[in-house]
Amino acid sequence: MPTVFIAIPLRRLTGGQATVQVAGATLRQVIERLESSFPGIAERLVDPDDPDKLAVGLAAIVDGEATVLGLRQPLEPGSEVHFLPAIAGGASDRRRGCRRI
């Protein structure tokens, strides 16, 4: 089962849990299951305007590297998932005034 590392701002929603094991073959499935366990978490992770996209300014790091497929990113049973602020590379210009996590 993939392991999801819960960023500090979201731990309020997971009762303080820092990691959660969640079944799912894609990022979307994992987020859906997370939502059923921890209501409210999905809206912090998913773009309200486009259900295929991560929230603006957020990156999902899967097995060490950022996904480029958004919620469609396939996961392995042993995958590690981190939701982190987007690294933005040399491209920190495109940031929001307020992040969701």
Binding site: L84, G90, A91, D93, R94, R95
Partner: protein
């Protein structure tokens, strides 16, 4: 100045299994070189178009002021003036700006930044612009625009901005404090990472060192000012010629700010005179576009140097506190970091990369990182070479040096003991793949420089010291497209969308040549506009040679596959019999049937016509990023505080150096930019919120007389995510110089400089404080 011109260049440290390369690793002359040494290369400001007119921008003289009224009538009536614009001409309606909050799009900030609507939030903030028959007429017309301002109290330091009751840069900014919504604040963001229990670990630590460091904001200092030329076509389409690090990201930004479809905009990337992260954002482009729409001519805008300093984005300054504890053996057990960066007038200092990089060089089992993005009344900061990493790493690397002194451990040994390796978890969570951190430290430890004695100072008032520091930048992957068109004469054209700032046309062409088995010179690269190539992300994040190179490899591999089919046709054999190696196609089913790539190209017309392929990549991540370790010897005049860099060696992991001369060039240039930031470069901001030293004269970037030769050691720990093992190397090299020099000054003088720049007056003050009253 005693540079060692005799010093050996680029010792190469190879690690791991290696593919045999024919082109990669050689040093061909760059394809665009002739035009550049002949003065023929066309940079942004060089463009000439039929009917071209010139513009100029009126900017706020105040750091923070409400715009009460703008009277354009005199300017509009002036002879030769063709169009005048203000924030009222910017497409986003004023009411939308009031919607700032969680739903805010960055286009609002981007739009607001390029031209103020109701208030100016930094000195140099555009408030109006003019297009006229020539540049001087436009400049003179600016003087006829009457703006009445209501000057507001400003905040230009992080302390001012975070103080209770501080004036607000934006009344409607909604900040986030670890995910909690905060209103009426200048702190746009506070993020936190935590692993283990740092407090418990500190309680057990044998030695703890804590330092608070201050870093001035520093400008990229590219020699070419920002420029933009735009033509708003009668059919509603827009063409923009500009010096940009990313024509497609530029197109996206323009699309958001001008509220028009991206497909209606063509961005033509001109030769770009330096960027270092500073030419990602839009500044003049929307203004040129709107002026063009108003006057019907193509309009050219070129920034003046003063405005480049005042109104474009330097890297942020900050206050960084790092605390680190080690056990009795010198193993790091805990570390915390408090990182506060001044974002400028809009949110978005590079605090997250700072948090990723601050402890990236070390295994830290118990860590907490807090980082704050603070808005202040100075121009919005931008990316600057490894954005966010140098400031934070300055604190970490000086703390590490103090620990080494405290426990009596050699700094190279300490690093080898504590260095992150593949499989180690970063403090922000994810694990590293194979990386070259240890190898860069070993390269420095094995260098002639490390073994050399420091030598006696050149006079009794001078003292010498040596310092070491490491650094990291993660880099990115993402989207690139490369098209290869095969010509009948055996030369291939390589079409790409990556802005070439430092020779990447060649490093990408070489990767295609490697696959095709032809000379680098037989690949003709061209950087083209957004209508002429598939989407390509910007030249930033150390991604171009890595990711666009991967696209070139993919396109070249497709060429080989297609050419095998053609060879099979020539030899009337099954395609499966055709082999390709070292640039030669051979028929495995027949004796003595072989064709070089060039020979086969001559037969394309009779085997089905031309061959054209496109490589499209969207790469996840950088493959672990690039580590560097630098070693520097300094001599300080204790009478004046002046520092001379005596000797400098930089080691960095390039994965595989495609064109070693340009890898060295990045390392040398990054080191010298870092030396500038370390010793002299800063924004001196007066009580009026205005930068006082906004000229090259007073900004004091290093001249050729201020630095020695920079010795380089290219370490090659292959990147598992790139077919040739290539890593992006453009950015990490600016991270180690500042702490390395602070550490060398500590060695020379016995005092710790914690504030950048470590200018002569600060060094003298530190020496006097050490001597006591």
């Amino acid at each position: 100045m005693t540079s060692k011109t005799g010093s050996k260049k680029s010792e190469s440290k190879k690690t791991g299994a290696e593919r045999k390369f024919r082109v990669v690793g050689t040093r061909p002359i760059r394809h665009d070189g002739w035009d550049k040494v002949l003065g023929r290369a066309v940079f942004g400001a060089d463009i000439k178009l039929p009917g071209l007119v010139h513009g100029a921008v009126l900017r706020s003289p105040y750091a923070h002021a409400r715009i009460v009224k703008i009277d354009l009538s005199k300017a509009e009536a002036a002879p030769g003036v063709l169009a005048v614009m203000t924030g009222a001409d910017m497409p986003i309606a004023a009411s939308k700006v009031l919607d700032l909050g969680e739903e805010v799009t960055n286009a609002v900030f981007a739009s607001d930044r390029v031209m103020a609507r109701t208030k100016a939030v930094y000195k140099g903030h555009p408030v109006a612009a003019v297009a006229a028959v020539d540049h001087n007429v436009a400049l003179e017309a600016l003087r006829l625009i009457e703006v009445s301002y209501e000057v507001l109290p400003h905040v230009v330091t992080i302390e001012q901005a975070m103080a209770p009751g501080a004036p607000l840069v934006h009344d409607d900014l909604v900040g986030s404090d670890i995910g909690e919504r905060v209103e009426h604040t200048n702190v746009a963001d506070h993020i936190r990472y935590e692993v283990g229990d740092p407090e418990a670990a500190f309680a057990e630590a044998a030695t703890i060192v804590e330092l608070e460091c201050r870093v001035s904001r520093a400008h990229q200092g590219y020699i070419e000012p920002q420029n933009a030329t735009a033509l708003w076509h009668q059919d509603g389409k827009l063409t923009v010629w500009t010096s940009t690090q990313g024509s497609f990201s530029q197109r996206n930004s323009l699309s958001s700010v001008l509220m028009m479809p991206a497909s209606s905009i063509k961005v033509v990337p001109m030769e770009i005179g330096g960027g270092f992260g500073g030419k990602i954002g839009i500044y003049l482009e929307p203004l040129a576009a709107i002026l063009s729409r108003k006057c019907g001519h193509p309009v050219k805008l070129v920034m003046e140097r003063r405005d480049v300093f005042d109104a474009t984005g330097p890297g942020p300054g900050g206050i960084i506190r790092v605390k680190m504890g080690v056990d009795a053996h010198g193993v790091i057990t805990a570390a915390t970091a408090d990182i506060r960066y001044g974002a400028g007038a809009y949110p978005g200092a590079s605090i997250n990369p700072a948090a990723v990089c601050v402890f990236a060089c070390y295994r830290v089992p118990n860590a907490r990182i807090d980082a704050y993005d603070v808005v202040i009344n100075l121009s919005k900061t931008a990316a600057y070479r490894a954005p966010g990493s140098p400031q934070a790493s300055f604190a970490t690397e000086t703390v590490v040096d103090e620990i080494c002194r405290r426990i009596g451990m050699d700094p190279a040994e300490f690093r080898l003991l504590n260095a992150t390796r593949g499989g180690d978890r970063r403090t922000d969570g994810p694990t590293f793949p194979r990386i070259g951190n240890v190898e860069t430290v070993e390269a420095i430890r094995g260098s002639a420089h490390y073994r050399a004695k420091l030598g006696r100072a050149s006079s009794p008032t001078k003292k010498r010291g040596r310092g070491m520091a490491s650094g990291y930048w993660q880099g990115i992957g993402n989207k690139s497209t490369v098209t290869i068109n095969v010509n009948n004469d055996g030369v291939v054209s390589l079409i790409e969308g990556s802005a070439d700032i430092g020779g990447t046309r060649t490093s990408i062409a070489m990767q295609a040549a490697e696959i095709l088995g032809i000379a680098a010179e037989d690949v003709h690269p061209a950087v083209v506009d957004t209508d002429s190539i598939g989407y390509t992300d910007l030249t930033a994040g150390s991604r171009t040679t890595y990711a666009t190179g991967a696209a070139a490899i993919q396109a070249a591999e497709q060429v080989v596959e297609e050419m095998k089919k053609r060879a099979a046709l020539v030899w009337e054999t099954d395609e499966a019999n055709v082999r390709f190696a070292d640039g030669v196609f051979t028929n495995g089913a027949a004796k003595n049937q072989h064709l070089t790539f060039k020979e086969l190209c001559g037969k394309l017309d009779t085997t089905g016509g031309h061959v054209s392929t496109t490589g499209v990549v969207n790469i996840r991540g950088s493959g672990g990023g690039s580590f560097a370790t630098h070693l520097v010897d300094v001599e300080v005049d204790t009478d004046t505080g002046k520092v001379e860099i005596l000797r400098y060696t930089a080691a960095q992991d390039a994965g595989k150096a495609v064109h070693p001369a340009y890898v060295e060039g990045q390392m040398e240039g990054g080191a010298v930019q870092g030396i500038g930031w370390a010793l002299n470069e800063e924004y001196v901001v007066g009580d009026d919120g205005v930068m006082q030293n906004a000229t090259f004269l007073d900004y004091r970037m290093p001249t050729s007389l201020d630095v020695p030769m920079i010795d380089t050691i290219i370490v090659e720990v292959p990147n598992e995510r790139h077919p040739f093992g290539v890593r992006g190397i453009g950015e990490t090299c600016i991270v180690p110089p500042m702490p390395a020099i602070s550490n060398a000054l500590r060695d020379a003088l016995g005092v710790r400089l914690t504030e950048l720049p470590m200018k002569p007056g600060r060094i003298m003050a530190a020496l006097q404080a050490q001597a006591g009253p």
